[in-house]
């Protein structure tokens, strides 16, 4: 079984994003970039499926700038077999465009399952996996916290509003992963070295014949209102008095 794992290069989760002075976006110059944390979880899940003998090949794919090759190398070092970069240097792609690009990659690669992070921590859209499933007319199992694959089906436990739900979907399907699915491994040094020799194909976005033009116009990007500085209280009793008399919330 072939697994396709899309990965995104994003601002490192420990870095606080800063808005550019001209309100045109977020300043990413000289900022540490990493693999989107949810995509690490999807790569890990694919590697575990291969270790269990369920998956035979793992293909990592990224849609983004040349530097996203580093992110793909990380996926290869974790255990993906090969990688594809869809070079979209100039485009700040919306989730719908990314889903269309991935649909074109699915058409070429014919995976039986796509395992993808539920959201990227930059745009926070939580949309690409669901959109890809829709465009392919595949079933979707979002926000997975447990996945079992066998007999042409996937049984997926999902994190829903009031607890957990379990669905069974026929393959091929799209699974989006949540935080509790697994704990991603760190790539070992020998595996990082080996990853440098694994195949990484670069395709130009234009070669896929996909309409990736933005549909939305970003008017501005601003900083949220800052909270006024608070105070330290001396004791729990003091805290209760202040909450009653000053804040009026008790």
């Amino acid at each position: 079984m072939k697994v396709l794992v899309p990965v995104k290069r994003v601002i490192d989760y420990n870095v606080k994003a800063r808005v550019k002075a001209d309100q045109s976006g977020v300043d990413l110059a000289n900022v540490k970039m990493s693999m989107n944390p949810f995509d690490e979880i999807s790569v890990e899940e694919a590697v575990r499926l291969k270790e269990k003998g369920v998956a035979s090949e793992i293909v990592a794919v990224s849609v983004g700038p040349t530097q996203a090759q580093e992110t793909l190398r990380t996926a290869l070092a974790m255990g993906a077999d090969r990688a594809i970069l869809v070079n979209a240097e100039s485009a700040d792609l919306e989730p719908l465009a990314v889903a269309k690009v991935l649909k074109a990659v699915v058409a070429e690669e014919s995976p039986e399952v796509v395992i993808i992070g539920k959201q990227a921590i930059d745009g926070d859209n939580n949309a690409v996996g669901q959109m890809l499933a829709a465009l392919l007319d595949w079933p979707q199992a979002t926000f997975a916290s447990a996945v079992e694959i066998g007999g042409g089906k996937a049984k997926v436990s999902r994190e829903v509003d009031g607890g957990l739900q379990t669905l069974e979907v026929d393959l091929p399907a799209v699974i989006t992963v949540d935080l509790r699915l697994n704990e991603p491994r760190y790539a070992s040094l020998p595996n990082i070295m080996k990853a440098k020799k694994k195949p990484l194909d670069v395709k130009e976005l234009a070669s896929l014949g996909v309409d990736a033009a933005p549909r939305l116009k970003v008017v501005k990007v601003t900083e949220p209102a800052k909270r006024a500085g608070g105070i330290k209280v001396e004791s729990a009793a003091d805290l209760v008095l202040k909450l009653k008399n000053e804040a009026g919330v008790l």
Binding site: N126, A134, Q140, E159, V160, G162, E168, D170
Partner: protein, 310 residues
């Protein structure tokens, strides 16, 4: 132009996030219909008909809609969108599950998790864990939007809209519901609670979380939340998680106990009216957003707080 709102409900009753999404919808258009899709959901539809400003309620029922299958919602909603220019859905786990699928089928972008309606085509949404606000404008013929409920006031009651039945399409064959385990609680719902008490990694165990956080929450009539670290460690169930990728809350009072205040946690609670932080580390980032900080070990501070509350 007419707007369709997908209701958040449990068949028997309507969730507050529906009323809040109606408020956002009314800022887009005066013609707002609400779709209640579920199973034996007449009671929820009747409740939706009472929301002030709602023009009409559509009730669609099937087992698969009751199970919340995104494929069933796609089959129902995509044809309905022939009569609407915008679709607004609360950005709950369920809304996030189904709305992008519908957007892609309509070949439009989704505008996710909006916190403000500037005009019928322009919306503000948080990005980068709420560290930036993006104002986006759509010129698409149809708009598919998810709404962050805590950012809008709930629409009032007093309406008397008609409830019409919409036929539920055939069930999707490739997806089957297996089971559901919902956490039962007598406490208020996390995203709509006036007070939230959250515990973090400092609690150290599920037993300690229950021993310390839950009685304090019950004393305050509060909902219980948790940091991602506490949920990942198994101290609290997943649906307690407050943060960028969990639930976003904005209560009158948020009490963070033993939570350091990682960026992704702050993204889920920093719009609370009053924030209290109890942490023994005076340099914990949570104190930068707290209105009232108590530098103390929760082991002594929480019992003292309980007795001071009387």
């Amino acid at each position: 132009m007419a707007v369709l709102v997908i209701a958040d409900h449990d068949n028997a009753s309507l969730k507050d996030s529906t009323h809040k999404t109606v408020t956002a919808a009314l800022a887009v258009s005066g013609e707002v219909d609400v779709l209640v899709a579920g199973q034996e959901a007449k009671a929820a539809a009747d409740a939706a008909a009472k929301i002030s400003g709602v023009r009409k309620v559509l009730l669609a029922e099937s087992a698969e809609l009751g199970q919340g299958l995104a494929e069933a919602f796609e089959a129902l909603v995509v044809p309905l969108m022939g009569s609407y220019e915008a679709l607004l859905t609360p950005a709950t786990a369920q809304g996030k599950n189904l709305s992008p699928r519908i957007a892609a089928k309509l070949d439009v972008s989704q505008i996710s998790d909006i916190v403000q309606v500037v005009d019928a085509n322009t919306f503000v949404r948080p990005i980068y864990a709420g560290n930036a606000l993006e104002t986006v404008q759509s010129s698409e013929a149809k708009k598919v939007v998810t709404v962050r409920p805590t950012a809008f006031k709930a629409a009032g009651e007093g309406g008397s809209a008609a409830v019409e039945t919409a036929a539920a399409p055939a069930a999707p064959a490739k997806t089957r519901f297996v089971s559901q385990e919902l956490v039962k609680s007598a406490r208020p719902e996390l995203t709509g609670a006036k007070i939230v008490v959250s515990g973090g990694r400092a609690l150290g165990s599920a037993e300690e979380f229950q021993r310390v956080i839950e009685p304090l929450a019950d004393k305050l009539g509060a909902a219980v939340g948790a940091s991602r670290a506490a949920v990942d460690a198994g101290y609290a169930p997943n649906d307690y998680q407050v943060g960028q990728t969990g639930k976003v809350v904005a209560p009158e009072l948020y009490v963070a106990v033993g939570i350091s205040g990682a960026i992704q946690h702050l993204a889920g609670m920093k719009d609370s009216k009053v924030i209290v932080a109890i942490n023994k580390d005076p340099d914990a980032p949570i104190f930068q957003v707290a209105d009232y900080g108590l530098v103390a070990d929760y082991k002594s501070a929480v019992p003292e707080l309980m007795s001071a509350l009387g």
